[in-house]
Symmetry: C2
Subunit: 356 residues, 2 copies
C-alpha cells in the first residue's frame, strides 16, 4: 500500500499495529472463532476488554483514587449536556470560557440546563487566542473550558486556576502529554482523535461529586448509573472501545504520555518553525497559544494556492484543508502521526518556496 500522510482532523490517523489488530479481531477475536462484532458484551472476553480499556486510562494518566473511568457513546456533543446535567445544580450557575466552536456548543447546551456565565471569550478575534486575565466568580458550581480548539488551532498551555470545580472537554488533546487529573472534577473526550475511532467518548470523573444537582437526569445521561454498572449500563460501543484499548496499549509500549509529549512537541516545533521561517506562509493564531495538535496556517499570497495544493497532493498528504471558519490549511498532528509525515509536509512547503 502507498503510504498516505494522514493529517485528518478527526476521525484521524491511528497507529498501524492498532489498525492491524482491529482488523483481525473483526474476523476472529481472541481465537474464539467469532468476530468481535458478534459476541455478547457480557461475555468474559469483552468484559476483559472493557476492564483493560478503563484501567489503561488510569495507568497512562496516573488517575488518582476516587476517580472513575467510563466509555459512553454520543461524542463530546452529548458530553456538553452530560456535564451540565451532572454538575450544574438547580438554582446554581456555571462559568464557561469560550474559545471556539466546541466551547460555544458546550455553552449552548448548558444554558438549556441552568444559568451560565461566559466569563471570557476570544470571539472578538475569530478565536485566534486563548483569553487571559479573566476573573472567575466565587459562586459557581464549576468552570468549564475546552483544552484544545481543533478548528482554530489554539490550546491552553496551563490549567485555569479556580477554587470551584473544574470541567474540561479534552477531546482533541487528551493523551498528547501528561496532565494532572487531580486538578479536574470531570474530563470528557470524544475518542476519535488520540484514542480511537468515532463512536465512543471517555469520561473521567471524581465520583463523590455526583448526585448532588437536584436535576432529574435521564438514566443514560447520569454518570452514576454507568459507574455503578462498570461502564456496561447498556450495550457499550464494543468495537470502538476495543480500538481504544489497543491504542492505549500502543501508547504504553511507546513510553506513555511523557514520551508522547516529547514527540508531539518535536512534531509541532518542526512545523511551526517552517511556518515562521518560510516567507510564503504565516500562522493564524497567537504564537503563545498555538496548538500542538492542530496547526493552522495560511499562504501570504493566495496566488500560490494551486501550486502548493499540487505539491502536497503529490507527496501523498491527506486532510490539510483548513476548516471553512478559518480557511487556509490545518495540519492535525495527533499522537499517531509520525514525525516523518510532518517532515514530508515541511518539504512540500520548502519546495513551494523554491519553485514559486
Amino acid at each position: 500500500m502507498t503510504k498516505v500522510h494522514n493529517f485528518s482532523a478527526g476521525p484521524c490517523i491511528l497507529a498501524p499495529q492498532v489498525i492491524k489488530k482491529a482488523s483481525e479481531a473483526v474476523i476472529n477475536f481472541n481465537n474464539l472463532n467469532l468476530s468481535l462484532l458478534e459476541i455478547s458484551h457480557r461475555s468474559d472476553d469483552f468484559v476483559e476488554v472493557m476492564d483493560k480499556a478503563r484501567n489503561l486510562v488510569k495507568k497512562v494518566l496516573n488517575v488518582p483514587e476516587g476517580y472513575e473511568v467510563i466509555y459512553l457513546g454520543g461524542g463530546a456533543s452529548l458530553g456538553f449536556t452530560i456535564a451540565a446535567l451532572n454538575f450544574l445544580k438547580v438554582g446554581g450557575k456555571a462559568a464557561y470560557i469560550n474559545t471556539g466552536t466546541w466551547a460555544s456548543g458546550a455553552i449552548k447546551e448548558a444554558k438549556k440546563i441552568g444559568a451560565v456565565e461566559v466569563i471570557a471569550s476570544s470571539e472578538d478575534k475569530n478565536f485566534s487566542y486563548i483569553p487571559k486575565g479573566y476573573t472567575i466568580p466565587k459562586d459557581i458550581d464549576y468552570l468549564h473550558y475546552t483544552s484544545n480548539n481543533t478548528i482554530f488551532g489554539t490550546q491552553f498551555k496551563s490549567i485555569p486556576k479556580t477554587d470551584s470545580l473544574l470541567i474540561c472537554d479534552m477531546s482533541s488533546d487528551i493523551f498528547s502529554k501528561p496532565i494532572d487529573v487531580s486538578k479536574f472534577d470531570l474530563i470528557y473526550a470524544g475518542a476519535q482523535k488520540n484514542l480511537g475511532p468515532a463512536g465512543s467518548t471517555l469520561y473521567i470523573v471524581k465520583k463523590e461529586l455526583l448526585g448532588k444537582t437536584g436535576n432529574s437526569i435521564p438514566s443514560m445521561l447520569d454518570l452514576s448509573n454507568h459507574i455503578a454498572k462498570d461502564s456496561m449500563y447498556n450495550t457499550p460501543p464494543v468495537f470502538p472501545v476495543y480500538v481504544n484499548m489497543l491504542t492505549l496499549e500502543w501508547l504504553v509500549e511507546l513510553g506513555g504520555v511523557k514520551e508522547m509529549g516529547r514527540i508531539n512537541a518535536e512534531k509541532a516545533s518542526t512545523l511551526y518553525n517552517e511556518i515562521d521561517r518560510n516567507p510564503l506562509f504565516k500562522g493564524v493564531v497567537e504564537k503563545e497559544d498555538r496548538s500542538e495538535m492542530n496547526v493552522t496556517f495560511v499562504l501570504n499570497n493566495e496566488a500560490h494556492k494551486d501550486r502548493f495544493d499540487q505539491l502536497w497532493k503529490k507527496a501523498n498528504i491527506n486532510g490539510i484543508e483548513g476548516h471553512r471558519s478559518v480557511g487556509g490549511y490545518r495540519a492535525s498532528i495527533y499522537n499517531a502521526l509520525p514525525l516523518e509525515s510532518v517532515k514530508v509536509l515541511v518539504e512540500a512547503m520548502k519546495e513551494l518556496e523554491k519553485t514559486a
Copy 2:
C-alpha cells in the same frame, strides 16, 4: 476456522460477507490506502456510506415519503428518552404497553419527561405473554410498545390499533420481516441484532410531527437537528454505520425482508416444533405470542441440565444460556443465523432425548 453456531442475544451473529468486508475496510477502505477508522466523516467516501445506509433502510422497508432515516449512538436506552422528548408534549400524556425489561425501561425514562399511563402489562405472569383487549385512551400524545421482547421471548404478531401517534422500539426484530412503516410515527432500534454491531441506533421518523412538544431538548437528543444535518450533526459512529450498510446490502441480495421473513419463520418453526415434540423440553411463553427472534425454553427436568449443556457445547453452539430473569435457555435466531445452525441445535435436543 471451526464453525461456531452463534445464538448470542446481541450483539449477535452477522453475515460472513459482512464480517469479511468490514475487516478489509479497517485495513484499506475504498482503495484509499487509509483505514475506514481514520478518514474524516465529512469525506466524500464516508458521506456516500451514510447516504447509502440511510437509503437502503428506505428501500428495504419501503419507507413512505415524509419519513426520515437517521443513525445515532446510545442504543435503544437513549432512544427511550429521545422518543419522549420529541413526542411527549408539555402537559400531555403518553400511553405505554409493558411487555418486559426494555418496555419497563422506556416507561421509566418517559416518566422523567412527562405523564405516562401504562395501559397494559404482562408483568403479572413474568412477561410470558403479550397483553390483549386493553383500551387505549383518546387523549394521549402517543402509544409506545416494544415489538419483540428479547429477554422473555415474546413478540407482537400485529400492530396495536390506535388513533393516536404510534412509537415502537423495534431493536430486536426490525428487518426480520416486512413491516408497514406508514402505521408508525417513530421507530427506533439499537442496531446490534439484525442490523450491525453495537454502537449505532436507527431512527425512522415522520418528519412533520417533530418540534411540537414545547420541551427544551438537548441538541443531541433533538431528532430535527440530526435530520437537518443528514445524520451528521456531529461525528457519527462511522464504523458501526458502515457495517449497517453492508448488512443491508446483504439483505437486499438475499431477497429483502419478504424472503428474510420466510426464512425466519422456517427457522422458528423448526425449533418450536422440536420444543413441543420433545418430551424433555417446554417453551416458557404463550404459544400465540412466541418470538421468531428469541426462542426461550426450559428442561422439564433439571437433572438433564449437565448432559444437555455438554451436548450443545460439543456441537459448537454458543450463547444459548437463558437470561437470569427467565432461566433455562434462549436461542436467538436473528437474521444472520442460518437454518443449518437451528438444525444443529435441534439435533442436540434429539440426542439428549435418546441418551437421557
